[in-house]
């Protein structure tokens, strides 16, 4: 009889449906054929996990949550399972948080039928990718201060001028979604934002690498916009409604980031528990020492709690509940913290080997550490919860 060890990600504590269990198994089977070393090799060579991405797309796993005509028909909870299981198999693909998550969701909710027709099929089947640029050097978390500006052009369309940084995956994207300030003040008298699609080879676009400590396939970039033309059809939704439209993508982005963190944590804890069972330094396996076992157990509890909130947030989002935002914020914070704790303890459990690339945990660290500041920082989550859940005064 075949025996296999149950994966930590299969725990029945996190709610599943029959379909979601099958989906998780299918993702595990697909990604398991690649594994951690494949992913590390791709990153080392400075390439993208294209083969894995194509397989995920072909199976329909890159667009589970988009509307059915564009290749989806499930919910964001399904995409959360895909992202988490990829990471749990040692392949934490940061791009999953960007192209299928934030970009596809915004397009699906707000873009014209023509844009959806042109982009969503390809983004769901993996043949097209988009990246997302909002962060600017002088605006930071405060999006009201964005200075990249879209000016209407006499011949129609717009010209975009300004600069973004930390735009991740810009060189491998077919297009960028850009958040820009409208040059003309609208009827409200207040400055407004709009969302545009900028094609990757648009004139006036300059993309420069922004070196970071992350060992991920996706690099981040500073992107300069010098009179970059945008054709009229490439405005997403309504002019001046950019901020409201962004919200469609923000909760999924947080849930996706949490799922990425949870998956990495599961990967690390699975490795660490195996090592703690196998490695004997004195007379018993090191896992028999409570100094090793208890911190792992505690880390696992925190990861499970984070997974529960993440799945709950996804279900609330899919149900259209106004509580989705609160849950998504809590999930992101809890998952990032739990993941860092799990990685740290998994490394500690491995002793010196915890730092080796062969074990494959240490090189997850900066991606996990990033999740404490991006896509939304820990402090901004706490601001949100203090104000909206506890009714405390607005602090900024």
């Amino acid at each position: 009889m075949a025996t296999r060890q149950r994966r930590l990600s299969e725990s029945p504590i996190v709610p599943v449906t029959d379909e979601r269990r099958e989906l998780r198994d299918a993702v595990a089977q697909l990604v398991g054929r690649y594994g951690r070393t494949y992913f590390q090799d791709v990153v080392k060579r400075g390439e993208q996990p294209d083969a894995l991405w194509a397989d995920l797309g072909a199976a329909g796993f890159l667009g589970a949550h988009v509307s059915e005509p564009y290749g989806g028909g499930g919910g964001f909870a399904d995409t959360a399972v895909v992202i988490e299981e990829c990471a749990a198999q040692g392949c934490p693909i940061q791009y999953l948080v960007i192209s299928p998550t934030i970009c596809s969701t915004i397009l699906d909710h707000h873009a014209s039928d023509a844009i959806k027709e042109e982009w969503l099929h390809g983004m769901a089947d993996g043949s097209k990718r988009m990246c997302f640029g909002i962060t600017e050097p002088d605006a930071g978390t405060n999006t009201h201060d964005l200075s990249t500006t879209a000016t209407p052009h006499p011949d129609g369309g717009w010209r975009i001028n300004g600069g973004k940084y930390w735009t991740t995956g810009a060189t491998v994207a077919d297009a960028l979604i850009v958040v820009a300030r409208d040059a003309d003040i609208g009827p409200s008298g207040k400055p407004t934002l709009s969302l545009f699609i900028v094609e990757k080879d648009a004139p006036g676009l300059t993309i420069q690498p922004l070196d970071s400590a992350l060992t991920t396939a996706e690099k981040s970039f500073t992107v300069f916009y010098d009179d970059v033309p945008v054709k009229p059809g490439n405005l997403i939704g309504e002019q001046g409604k950019g901020l409201q439209q962004l919200f469609a993508g923000l909760n999924p982005e947080r849930i996706a980031a949490a799922s990425l963190a949870n998956g990495m944590a599961l990967f690390a804890l699975e490795k660490a528990s195996q090592y703690a069972k196998d490695r004997t330094v004195w007379t018993q396996p090191i896992g028999a020492h409570q100094g090793v076992a208890h911190p792992l157990a505690k880390a696992y509890i925190d990861v499970q709690l984070a997974r529960l909130m993440t799945m709950r947030a996804a279900e609330l989002f899919d149900a259209g509940s106004p509580a989705a935002g609160e849950a998504a914020n809590m999930a992101k914070l809890a998952a990032a913290d739990a993941c860092l704790q799990a990685l740290d303890q998994a490394m500690q459990t491995h002793g010196g080997n915890g730092l080796s690339l062969e074990v494959g945990i240490a090189d997850l660290y900066f991606l996990a550490r990033m999740l404490k500041v991006a896509p939304v920082s820990r402090e901004m989550v706490l601001n949100h919860i203090a104000q909206h859940s506890l009714g405390l005064p607005k602090s900024y």
């Binding site: 025996t3 072909a58 199976a59």
Partner: protein, 264 residues
């Protein structure tokens, strides 16, 4: 036009510790269950015949005999690509042995009159490796086991069998019952669409009466094999560990060990 029936079984998940319930002599099936992994190779073989056009297949039908929970195995089978499924379930089937299961499956197959029946090499629980052969016997069709390569030429299949001593090449004419070895292919994973659509594909649920199957030939009533007892396999003596500190010395030790046992 060709119809393929694939025999699939629900088995305890490989992560579940398996035990025989000593009061009934049957496997304790209370834990989580799944589609027999060996049967995914049979489904894959059917789909490859269909997709490659080697056979002009218009339908792949998954068939199971099992308790009510076995519908999940059928959902999995259709999510992998079977077009529809048939579930024979009846209290009178409880405790069926290989011959009884083979008889019931053969009766279900007769209702479908397919051109080809594919089965896995073994179930992951009972693992008698025999149901395919029993089905072939009841149908009076040629039956082949451990097939790891299938070539089609009209109504003739040239099959490579993995045998203990090497490989057999056997030709059979359809209709036939073929149990495939797990080396025949690498099974696919289901796509999102297939997973979502699995519960929407036709599933026919039949009792013994519905399928006009003789209840006296199945279950406790019809069984010819009876479980009488079980015991732990004898504990193996601990092996000898040779640490490789000096390779020349290690080789010497291994050679001496083999020599002691007259193995070289």
């Amino acid at each position: 036009m060709t119809k393929i029936v694939v025999l699939v079984k629900e088995v305890p998940d490989a992560a579940v510790q398996k035990q025989v319930d000593s009061s009934t002599g049957r496997l304790d099936r209370s834990g989580e269950k799944t589609l027999n992994p060996f049967d995914t190779h049979a489904i894959e073989a059917a789909l490859q015949l269909k997709e490659s056009g080697a056979l002009d297949v218009d339908e792949v039908v998954a068939v199971t005999v099992g308790p009510s929970s076995a519908v999940k195995a059928l959902h999995k089978a259709v999510s992998l690509g079977a077009d529809r499924s048939i579930h024979l379930t009846d209290d009178a089937l409880v405790g069926s042995d290989v011959v009884g299961t083979g008889y019931a499956l053969a009766e279900l197959i007769k209702r479908e009159s397919p051109d080809l029946v594919l089965a896995g090499q073994q179930s992951d629980d009972g693992q008698s490796y025999a149901v395919g052969a029993a089905v072939a016997e009841y149908l009076g069709w040629p039956g082949l086991t451990q097939v790891i390569k299938l070539d089609v030429d009209g109504q003739t299949l040239t099959c490579e069998r993995q045998a203990e001593y090497g490989y057999d090449t056997v030709k059979v004419t359809l209709p036939a019952v073929i149990s495939v070895g797990d080396a025949i292919n690498e099974p696919r994973y289901p796509s999102l669409k297939a997973i979502m659509g699995a519960k929407k594909k036709p599933l026919e649920s039949l009792s013994l009466g519905d399928a006009e199957i003789d209840a006296s030939k199945v279950g406790e009533a019809g069984r010819k094999a009876v479980w009488t007892g079980s015991q732990e396999p004898p504990a193996k003596a601990a092996g000898e560990l040779i640490e490789d500190e000096d390779t020349a010395e290690t080789v010497e030790k291994i050679v001496a060990w083999l020599d002691d046992r007259k193995l070289i």
